[in-house]
């Protein structure tokens, strides 16, 4: 098991959220969108030059700004 951020993981890979290393406000915001510890997600793409990361989780597609994406830590094998 390795821990990497949502920015670092390669597109089209699936992983579980290990931790959200942000304040309560961010944790809360993500929680409302259905992203919390243990949630599985697939990274779809990452727009370069610090653009957003696009993920699929459940049946939703979400775009997450670069800054937030660096705070979402995933667990990969």
């Amino acid at each position: 098991m390795r821990r990497i951020t949502l920015v670092q993981i390669k597109p089209n890979r699936k992983a579980k959220v290990a931790e959200i290393s942000g304040g309560a406000n961010l944790q809360n915001k993500l929680m409302h969108m259905g992203i919390f510890k243990g949630k599985e997600m697939t990274k779809l793409s990452h727009i370069g030059l610090r653009g957003p990361v696009v993920i699929k989780t459940g049946r939703s597609m979400l775009a997450i700004g670069h800054g937030i994406a660096t705070k979402i830590i995933l667990e990969v094998e």
Binding site: G34, F36, S45, R50, P52, M61
Partner: protein, 576 residues
């Protein structure tokens, strides 16, 4: 006794469509999250009773994290819980995501009816939901609907009366999600479907390489289509009407008008080669209606048709993702694309849409950039019509100058303004093909809105201008400003009148440049200056409302400074 009904749901679940189905009131609904910024109200008949129904802004949770969500939550507190019924709209294609709000509503003790919308789409996607089981597990009534066709709306209304609170323990957020997992597992059956072309396109449009290719294709095609439809309407409809129908009537009327005095000047204007020239006569009955109906309206129609189509398909959030990195460097984030695009129609709705941006700093930057660098469609139509005669390169040139300005100005503002710009976090809707009737309805309301706003102002504006010109009241201003207008910008000194009129309406202002016989370079400078110098009065008023006096003064100072710099630069350096 029910005093009020509230519609609540996540963004982009078809809430506005349900609302317009329930009330019959025409509502503009769009396919991007957060569209219902203003609160819509209407009435619905439950039995014989007429009850007010309120469409709340889309929200993911009752613990608000954004301004729109705060509004939704505070409105729910207006009445006590036994006086209201809450209709919770759920997207059947994405039940899991939607149930968080439902659980919170039940826990809080609201009387709710759950409306499981988009059932047909769920079926297409191979998502099957056992409504009865869901009803049992939640202990509230669940009505499957398809608001686009109107299916299930009737039974939704019938169930409003019987809505009663269900008992549920207060859960923590984590507990809610695991509860939702359990519920979804029991009620939802997924049929395996192969990826459809639509899904492949959905993915491709947010991947870097294919995304940018699709985006440039769409932007190019939109621009071309707007021009094509606009020109088509002008050549095939409005011009024939004006020239073959309206002009002979006017000429017959004026034939008997021997003395060409004050009234003639006011209504018909100057005759060019003893004929009425719709572009140059400048009369209240000649140039004024021609500018609005013959030059601007065709483009207003074609622009809003294409914009509404892109909105309803759900393309705009994807464009927002692709441009987020660029916009971040201008102190904005991807979502600012939407106000900017609206601004290309009219700056007023564009600036109003900046409300959806979270921070004050971001709203200031977006509003200033829109009023400087985004020409509204009436202005663009006039630029196409006038500058286009000298070749498309000049038209492209104006856009290029504006684009560079936005970039430079954004970089500077981002560097020096204090405050923060928040990060992007957005759910991306699936592509949906809007029913033609919804699209046309939206187009109708937007075009109507334009006509109501523009026509009286243009008519009165041209009238007042003509009076001022007749009594030679502009002469003083003209001679005072001559050093700047002529010396610095290289325009004939009379052009100042057009620049002043730009404060009333940009399209009329370009119209005022027409009779001056400007060279291509002069027209280029004039049109660019009109675009950047000063917003029209309507935009000015919203800027004041959105930014306050201090912000407005700051923004205005930037605009005036920029126009002087750009006008002089164009005149002395670039176009020398």
């Amino acid at each position: 006794m029910i005093k009020k009904i509230y519609l609540i749901g996540n963004p982009n679940v078809g809430k506005s469509v349900v609302f317009s189905r329930l009330t019959g009131v025409h509502v503009i609904s769009s396919n991007y999250p957060g569209t219902t910024v203003e609160i819509l109200k209407g009435y619905v008949y439950v039995g014989d009773e007429k009850i007010e129904i309120v469409d709340l802004p889309g929200t993911y949770s009752l613990e608000p994290t954004s301004h729109a969500e705060e509004v939704a939550v505070s409105l729910l507190k207006e009445y006590s819980k036994d006086e209201i019924v809450v209709i919770n709209i759920l997207d059947a294609t994405n039940l899991e995501r939607n149930l968080l709000l439902t659980l919170q509503l039940i826990e809080k003790g609201f009387r709710i009816v759950a409306c499981l919308n988009m059932c047909d789409e769920a079926g297409h996607k191979g998502v099957h939901i056992d409504t009865e089981k869901l009803e049992k597990l939640l202990n509230v009534q669940v009505v499957p609907t398809c608001a686009v066709t109107g299916l299930g709306i009737k039974s939704l209304i019938e169930k409003i009366k019987d809505a009663s609170p269900a008992l549920r323990n207060q859960l923590t957020q984590e507990e809610r999600w695991s509860e939702i997992g359990r519920i979804v597992e029991q009620v939802q059956r997924l049929e395996h479907r192969h990826h459809t072309l639509k899904e492949l396109l959905e993915d491709a449009s947010v991947r870097p390489l294919s995304g940018f290719m699709i985006a440039s294709g769409i932007i190019y095609a939109s621009f071309k289509t707007v021009r094509f439809i606009g020109e088509f309407i002008i050549n095939k409809i409005t011009d024939p009407v004006f020239i073959n129908l309206y002009q002979p009537i006017l000429e017959k009327l004026t034939l008997h008008w021997q003395e060409k005095g004050f009234w003639f000047h006011l209504l018909i204007g100057d005759l060019i080669n003893s004929k009425i020239d719709f572009k140059q006569s400048l009369g209240v009955l000649t140039t004024a209606p021609y500018i609005e109906f013959g030059m601007v309206l065709p483009y207003v129609i074609s622009f809003y048709l294409i914009l509404s189509l892109l909105e309803d398909i759900g393309y705009l959030p994807r464009l927002a993702i692709l441009l987020d990195n660029v916009l971040h460097r201008l102190g904005l984030h991807g979502f600012a694309v939407i106000p900017v695009l609206l601004g290309f129609g009219c700056n007023v709705p564009g600036i109003l849409a900046t409300r959806s941006l979270e921070s004050k700093r971001e709203r200031f930057i977006a509003s200033t950039l829109i009023s400087i660098g985004v020409p509204c469609i009436p202005l663009q139509a006039m630029i196409f019509g006038l500058l286009g005669q000298f070749g498309g390169l000049y038209v492209v040139g104006v856009y290029l100058v504006l684009f560079c300005l936005v970039l430079i100005l954004g970089l500077i503002m981002n560097r020096f303004l204090t405050g923060y710009s928040p990060e992007f976090l957005l759910e991306i809707p699936t592509y949906r093909f809007p029913p033609l009737s919804t699209l046309l309805k939206k187009l109708y309301f937007r075009v109507k809105g334009f006509l109501i706003e523009a026509v009286p102002v243009v008519m009165i504006g041209v009238l007042v201008i003509n009076i001022l010109i007749y009594f030679k009241l502009f002469n003083l201003v003209t001679s005072i400003s001559a050093p700047v207008i002529h010396g610095l910008f290289g325009l004939p000194k009379e052009a100042v009148v057009a620049l002043i009129i730009g404060f009333i309406r940009k399209d009329v202002a370009v119209g005022m440049l027409m009779p001056l016989g400007l060279s291509a370079k002069q027209l280029f400078i004039g049109a660019t200056l009109l675009a950047i110098s000063f917003p029209c009065v309507a935009t000015f008023v919203v800027l004041l409302k959105e930014l306050g006096w201090k912000g407005l003064v700051k923004s205005t100072f930037i605009m005036v400074a920029i126009s002087v710099i750009v006008g002089a630069t164009l005149n002395f350096i670039i176009l020398r």
